[in-house]
Symmetry: C2
Subunit: 243 residues, 2 copies
């Protein structure tokens, strides 16, 4: 059962935590190029970013090795070389940390997919390639597989992190007359749940890995193109990811 995310249980709904709020991803902005505004990012901010990144990396490693729940906050903190309590300056809960890990994995994958698909002509094929690659990654990559047991959390992260691309592609393909989608957000929402569920079913042996083709066909059916068109679309050759 889920343990902490339940609002019923955390008795004192502390409004503390996550007061740090380091800007998550900004590599540029070196001390030099900032003569007058914010004091150029002091030592504190730099340490906080290091800590946050170390925590996410440590959490990713530990959770990958042992699974999300078997990973203890203590081990993660130790591997990131911070005190046990420090973790909670950066993440409200273990759940939030796990989600942060997930999002980095998905973000990376999203970039790699786009690097391939932006040479495609058919927007429908862009979408098809995307969901197929996510499925393959989910059942192949150990780092994903270990996390699949929290379906609704993963599906939601997938919806958010990769939704930017997926929903755009659904819309483009619909405008091009390839798909029949009036509510792209909804279709993507349903697709993420089915996708993650299917990945989980495969990694737990409830579905054979060979079902991947048919899964993609059926997910493409949700775009309203009918069974035949979906089969054709999923059968197109798929270039490999780079990186």
């Amino acid at each position: 059962m889920l343990k902490y995310p339940n609002p019923m249980k955390s008795r004192t709904l502390r409004a503390k935590a996550a007061k740090v709020e380091v800007a998550p991803e900004t590599e540029y902005d070196s001390p030099m190029t900032n003569p007058d505004q914010t004091p150029a990012e002091g030592r504190v901010a730099r340490r906080q970013r290091r800590n946050r990144e170390a925590l996410v990396a440590a959490a990713r490693d530990v959770m990958t090795e042992k699974g999300v729940e078997a990973a203890t906050m203590l081990e993660i903190a130790e591997r990131a070389d911070v005190g046990a309590g420090t973790v909670y300056n950066y993440f409200k809960s273990k759940d939030e940390l796990a989600i942060a890990v997930l999002e980095t994995l998905m973000h990376d994958l999203g970039l790699r997919i786009e690097a391939v698909t932006d040479t495609f002509d058919d927007p429908a094929q862009v979408y098809a390639y995307g969901i197929r690659t996510v499925l393959d990654t989910a059942i192949t990559d150990v780092r994903w597989a270990q996390m699949l047991s929290r379906s609704e959390v993963i599906a939601d992260a997938l919806f958010r992190v990769m939704g930017h691309f997926a929903i755009r592609d659904l819309r483009l393909a619909s405008q091009a007359g390839r798909f029949e989608v009036s509510n792209a957000e909804l279709v993507w929402r349903l697709t993420t749940h089915a996708l993650i569920g299917a990945g989980h079913a495969i990694t737990t042996g409830r579905l054979p890995a060979s079902a991947a083709d048919q899964i993609i066909v059926r997910l493409l059916c949700m775009t309203g193109i009918g069974a035949n068109a979906a089969v054709e679309l999923s059968a197109r050759p798929r270039p490999a990811l780079r990186g």
Copy 2:
């Protein structure tokens, strides 16, 4: 995070537990009609059935009230009027108990759905009515809503408990030329995940309840009938459940 189902963590993998194995659902077989075989179900077996049923009922109540994880095994045991350790003679873990609760809820719903749909002529409509009713129940009935946060477990239970009907209906509709489904099991698997995920999204406010119609349309699209036919099918009048 999930707590107990992880095999890594339970250090001593006990092979004990669940040695009881009372036949879960057999109402008939009264002491009278059993003159020679098993000694007519002794007091032990009767007590065991009472305990098991009391445990499932207590678990259903407590989990409905407080949510699955906030419900403690102690409270469930007390409300079922058995000792705290006794629960583990009947269910290997809290998870297994929660699943048992779920299955009773789903089994009941399945029977009520079938009582309505067996008067339908179009097998496609039988299927459509079924998934629509499951969705409505999931987002309406408090007992379901409280459990939705364990998507993969619920989806799997839904697959098993209601799969008997759903897969049959998918096959019938395909044979009648209404659907284009070659692998009914797979389509049902994907549908359960999308259905539960959508229900969860609605109860958590990520989707409006008014999206239910469109959700059903897209789930019907997975049967390969295309967007237009799906819209028509989902728009048919739906008689109310009885009971």
